[in-house]
């Protein structure tokens, strides 16, 4: 038997079946699906609801409550800029404005080439070395507008160096 296609109902069902026995399984299931596909497809909601004995509305309600979950595919990289106070104190507002202008998009949007999705985040726990930015699972500190541009250029050519 061939492996289910990525994102197919079968592959989503495999994630659900592996976790549905856990107490309070919904968040772990949503994380597993999003980790695998990058987002939670509309069709998965009915499958999850069915497996957990909940309504589709309940599952949708949980997805929409949490900032982390998305129901549309992101770009190839997700870039989050910390908007919180410790980063504000060292120039995060300027970085935010620069990032939006430089990428030509606002928060929650993806560049036309589908490379970068820009998101806001409220604290990455790197508060002594801001402004902080998270690129996929990697946190970067002391990000100036110039370093931000170097970083996004590197993402588009797939080379990521943190510091010289």
């Amino acid at each position: 038997m061939s492996k289910p296609r990525e994102g197919s109902p079968q592959s989503v069902q495999a994630e659900i079946d592996a976790l549905k026995h856990k107490p309070g399984a919904l968040l772990p299931i949503l994380h597993a699906i999003q980790d695998r596909l990058g987002f939670i497809p509309e069709a998965a909601i009915a499958q999850i609801a069915d497996a957990l004995g909940q309504t589709k509305a309940e599952v949708h309600g949980v997805i929409s409550f949490y900032h982390h979950f998305r129901t549309t595919p992101p770009g190839r990289h997700v870039v989050q800029i910390c908007r919180a106070e410790a980063c504000q104190a060292v120039g995060a507002r300027r970085l935010e404005a620069h990032a939006k202008a430089s990428l030509g998009i606002d928060y929650h949007h993806t560049t036309a080439d589908r490379e970068i999705t820009l998101e806001a985040v409220y604290c990455l726990g790197n508060c002594a070395c801001g402004p902080s930015v998270r690129v996929d699972d990697r946190v970067l500190g002391r990000v100036t507008p110039e370093r931000f541009d170097a970083l996004t250029d590197a993402l588009r050519t797939q080379i990521l160096e943190v510091a010289g």
């Binding site: 107490p23 309070g24 399984a25 919904l26 968040l27 772990p28 949503l30 994380h31 957990l52 309600g61 949980v62 409550f65 949490y66 900032h67 982390h68 979950f69 919180a84 106070e85 410790a86 980063c87 504000q88 104190a89 060292v90 985040v121 409220y122 604290c123 990455l124 726990g125 790197n126 508060c127 002594a128 070395c129 801001g130 902080s132 998270r134 699972d137 990697r138 946190v139 970067l140 500190g141 002391r142 160096e161 943190v162 510091a163 010289g164």
Partner: protein, 522 residues
Amino acid sequence: MSVHGGVRVFVPCDTTALSLGADEVAARLEREAQARGLSITLVRNGSRGAAWLEPLVEVETANGRMAYGPVSADDVSELLDAGMLDGREGHALSLGPTEAIAYFAKQQRLTFARIGVTDPLSIVDYLAHDGFRGLEAALAREPREIVEEVKASGLRGRGGAAFPTGIKWQTVLDTEAPQKYIVCNADEGDSGTFADRLVMECDPYMLIEGMTIAGLAVGATQGYIYLRSEYPLAQKILDTAIARAEAAGYLGDDIRHSGKRFHLEVRLGAGAYICGEETSLLESLEGKRGLVRAKPPLPAIEGLFGLPTVVNNVLSLAAVPYILAEGGQAYADYGMGRSRGTLALQLAGNVRRGGLVELAFGASLQELMEEFGGGTLTGRPLRAVQVGGPLGAYLPESQWQLPLDYEAFSAAGAVLGHGGVVMFDDSVDMAEQARFSMEFCKVESCGKCTPCRIGSTRGVEVIDSIRADEDRDANLVLLEDLCETMVDGSLCAMGGMTPFPVQSALTHFSADFRRPADGGHS
């Protein structure tokens, strides 16, 4: 001596060190050492918490560990030329013996004694540095005796509410139930705080040990660490540490052959600040929207899945191994008034020497910001300090003499909270900060109660009108009134404390609300 025979070189692997290029430093070190035919053993330790010195490279010598920092990959070659592997001093980045660096030497590290010293995932290292001594002590005692020890320590909840930990445990111990839970609140969402992260990334067995002791104390056999999704590295480290602790018999069905049971699992949050509120956290763990529950019932009586639950912050649980190993009195010997023990302070924002500073309660905020922090990063005058996260008041210079003590802060209308200290220089616009407080509440409110849900939106609008000089005097009165309504009428601290930074800005920095409408800066 290391088994590999080479000089042991330490390059930290916590989020902050990595965010400043620690992996690149480590890779360059290995490459350069190999090219020069030098034998080194690279250890990826945790961070010692001096973020301003990261990446802080250490070399083990006969006279102890020698420190160099902050090191970038491009410094490596020069440092090797300067005899770093022999621990030689003299290079501009040389800091001398690590333990003698004033930033560390002046701290009182009880909870954070091990961070940065050890390899976070090595149980051998953990045991060699007093690890699991608290658990061994707890296994030899009755649950009631463990609870008494924690009460004797005077430990109060380090998440911000400062409720006595021992009393919470007593309530759960006294409540009969077929199943009880220990839940660790690791949803460290306050800006300016990273002490929980340092515990989890740099000394994860300490948290595992603290939670296991809590389980033994109250009769709980299942624990959950509710970890924010913004901490992917902490998740990896905790998952590995839990698996290793189980394999070594420190977790599982028969802890250290005692016949006692405790299981632990990490659960990820999903980017909701409100889930740091304990009842919202429990809803989230149950797989629901993180809506705040009305209290009573207390989680200690009806918590996770309706069963008795200890909900403690990472730092509260991390303090427990020391208390059991050394005795509650040893912990209580530190501190002032009703604030016993030590507090993990986190210097953040516009600060020259930011990082973790563990001190006994009682030092003044000013001492902390000057002696440890060294003033602002920009070198401009310090103007405002937000202590205790986004719901904490902004303190002007007249309040910097406050001692770091729960009661003293409370009497001044401020909060110590989780110990975050965010410094701002004189370029800050406090009306803009006040607006952000309301905006943050608008984004993060769970929506259950009206003062928080609607009040925060109205707060943003009113502050916008004030800043635009539209009917300014009337809107300032309206803002005061709105703040009062939110404080008095909100269900939890989110709506109830969001006004604190706003009110403090209005009181102490009123001129910022009266600037010209074009946002002109003086």
